[in-house]
Structure formats: structure tokens, C-alpha cells
Amino acid sequence: MFKVLAAMLAAVGAGYLLRNWKYVKYGGIFVKYVIWLLLFLLGLSVGSDSAIVGSLHTAGLQALVMAVAGMLGAMVAAWVVYKVFYRKDDSSKK
């Protein structure tokens, strides 16, 4: 994980140095394709593990409940923090 962070920091530095190079903005297009590849690989790792596929119905239902609950909690807390600490100075607000 440290290597990934280091790669990212180096890329930020490289991007800063290359900010006036006209081709640098095309990097954003590649992001989309790499995300597609990562999602495909994620699906592949689930589909190719017979143990995960076998208990998918029970595990899937429990995971759905856990995921919905966890996300709801995170969103409520995010809303409170935004409303109390950020709303005043978010210039993007319409």
C-alpha cells in the first residue's frame, strides 16, 4: 500500500511538472479503461473461486444487509459533518 501511495505522489509531482504539456489532459481518458479492467478482474476473482460461488446465496444476503447498513451509517455521519463543518465555505454550492 505504501508503494501505491508513493507511485501516486510521484505521479502528482510529474503531473505538476508536465502541467503545461498539452497532451497531459488525455490521461483522464485512460482512467476509465483501467477502471473497466479492474472491475472485470474483481468479477473474475469472485467467479473463479468455487467456495465463494457455493455459499453465495447466504453470504450474499448477509453481505447485502451489512453493506446497506454500513453505507447508511457512513452517509448519515458524512451529512452531519458536512452540514455542521463544511456547508458555509463550500463555494460549489448552488
Binding site: 472491475l39 447485502l64 447498513a69 459533518v81 463543518f85
Partner: protein, 209 residues
Amino acid sequence: MKDSLIIVMFFVAGVLAGLSGALPKSMVQGNLPMYALYALVIFVGVSIGSDSRLKQILRTLRPKFLLVPLATIVGTLAFSALAALFLKDISLFDGLAIGSGFTYYSLSSVLITEFKAASVGDALAAHLGTVALLTNVIKEIVTLVGAPLMVKVFGPLAPICTGGAASMDTLLPSIVSASGKQWTFVAILHGMLVDFSVPVFVSFFCALG
């Protein structure tokens, strides 16, 4: 919406390819996912670095940004505990351990499977690991697809908090496009701190359970 559908299609195609056995498992066990992740963070990093507003974003960095990862941890764990009370096969501490994955599905599922094997046996430990994997995969996919809706209902911090550890890499592009570029550094800082908290919380709750 078209982009989200394409993303889901790629995931489903991956599952089907895995089920059919058409593609070798070595594709996911090898270095390909890691290289793809590196390519992703490098492209994202370059686009952040070349952003003309970078200086302005850095100037506005403040201690209150730490409240965002705190919201993620407190909110996720509180509601995960509540959900565990309703699921008869998931104990309170197992639920907290699963919630502490914060979308880091690969690490959290492996850690839970390892830590729980000694106390509850291999089969139940593998089951809990699978639930952790799926829970955190669902969180990541829902954040990826639903970020714009989350921003509309719960504000710009919502997809950052549901995105957990992935808010700094795989989910960063969708978060930035839904919440706005001014949240890029909040999302990265959040991802870094939550990322480091995953092994700490998962091992802590596994030890208690």
C-alpha cells in the same frame, strides 16, 4: 448513467468468465490487478498534479478534514453493529470486523478468515471472510455507481465516506466527478487514514469476538 452500466457489465462479465473457467485463475492471482491499480493511481496522480487549482486546494487544507475519516469510522461501525444484531449468524464483533473492511475487501476478507479460523474453525471463518469480501465489494460498486445520487441526498462527503479506503484510488475518479474537484484532497487524505485503520480495527474486533 451509461458509464455506470458499462462498469457493472464489466464486473458481471468477469464473474461469468470466472464461472465458465474460460480464463485462467492466474489472471487474478498474478500481478495484473496490481499493475492495473498502479496504472490507475499514476493516471489519477498526473491529472491531479497538472490541475491548475492544485495550489489553491493545498492552501485550503485544514484540520477539520480529519473529521471526514472519523465520520466514516463512527458511522459505519455504529450501523454495522445494529445490522449484526438483526442477523442471527453474525455476532456483534463479527459484524464490527466486517464493517471495518471500509471497502478494502481483499485485505479485510483475508484478515478475518485468518484471525477467526483459530476460534470458530475454518469453515465458519471462510464464510465470514466471504461475507466481508462481498460486503465491501458491494460498498465499492454501489459507491462507484451511486456517487451522484449520494451527493444529491447526503452531500458531497457521502461517497467519500461510503468509499472508505478506496476513496483515494479506485473510487477517486467517480467521487471527484460526483462531488467536485475541490474534494480531491479530502478524498485522498480520507482514503489514506481509513486504509491504515483497516488492519487495526479488523484485528481488534476479531480478537474480541
